[in-house]
Amino acid sequence: MAGFDKVVSSYEEAMAGLTDNMTIIAGGFGLCGIPENLIAEIKRKGTKDLTLVSNNCGVDDFGLGVLLPNRQIKKIVASYVGENAEFERQMMAGELEVELTPQGTLAEKMRAGGAGIPAFFTATGVGTPVAEGKEERTFNGRDYILEEAIVGDFAIVKAWKADRYGNLVFRKTARNFNPLAATAGKITVVEVEEIVEVGELDPDQIHTPGIYVNRVIQGTFEKRIEQRTTRPSDMHEAKGE
């Protein structure tokens, strides 16, 4: 009896049930905190005509960008794209549908989707192309547009640590969209750097309770850096920090 034990032992098992035409919500910001091995598994499976909901679409050879060459993505809902050449080519050729969504609205769509709120009003995008075709209402003299929540058939998430029950802890800015994605998947799959025994995580420090999580797998990560910016170390010492 598995009880609350969410741990699976293979990536194949982690993404079992994913089929063509499904919607996947993915955590990550740029290449930071992306579920890189779950994405690789989707590539390996060859699932097609997917709708991806993610802040960005990776780069040519890493992150969600790896799903582009075999035309696995039909549509992407994102706030900022175009860090890769194949994406640009498919978008310009009309092979890939792109729904640009303001970053805060995208986060709230996931949050609302996971929280059972079907839609919400926001001032973001009023008077812009984002407002086209959306209901507008005035509250206290200010205009707002109605944005609908998003629920995914799958959510793919990267966390730092999980216990076997799927309680999650994220690390630094690799948290980003991950906890929101975790709530908004009908099946939420999480890959982590470390799985610990139940009881080892301090309940006060858990970012995402296991109730949102269906499957947990431990992986190894490349964690590629998109913009490597540094300062000289002598300046560091001079400031005495």
Binding site: C32, Q103, G104, R111, T124, K172, R175
Partner: protein, 218 residues
Amino acid sequence: MALSREQIAQRVAQELKDGYYVNLGIGIPTLVANYVPQDIEVMLQSENGLLGMGQFPTEDEIDADLINAGKQTVTMANGASVFDSAESFAMIRGGHVDLTVLGAFEVDVNGNIASYMIPGKLIKGMGGAMDLVAGADNIIVTMTHASKHGVSKLLKNCALPLTGKGCIKKVLTDLAFIEIKEGKFHLLERAPGVSVEEIIKLTEGEIVVTGDIPEMKL
């Protein structure tokens, strides 16, 4: 002389106040962090989920899990906090950020801003800019006053798709510091050595000049 990118950042930094939470956009706005006056404390918000952004890391400190909204590796300042993207935009949309500085392609006399899309060219997306302009009361737009060919970017009406409507009140260009109110640009300061006439010539939208316009102090 028109201001350099660094000088624009320097002038913006004079608008910072002690205790401000500030969001700096990509490009010139990012440089503002280099000119925070010594005698005040500000905290930088990065919309990917960091409040209290520090300087760039040394080679030894680089952490792939710690980046800013420009996807650059950063560090955390003393007193920093991290959070998810919904929380981050609750701060922004909820009006909790004291000052937002961001770039633009065009602004107009009605406070409209266009900054994310040039139809026909590659469209990369608005990122967090639409939320930032909708949520902040205190926004400074940094931009060049006109194109290289002398075409004004301070317009009667923005021609490009908007990022936000009626939300911009202050613009700092390489030539002038301008306030937008009552459907007009109002000239507050001019870059050192730049004449009022030059600014008027390169401003398409109506611009009001009241009295002697002081030079910026840098």
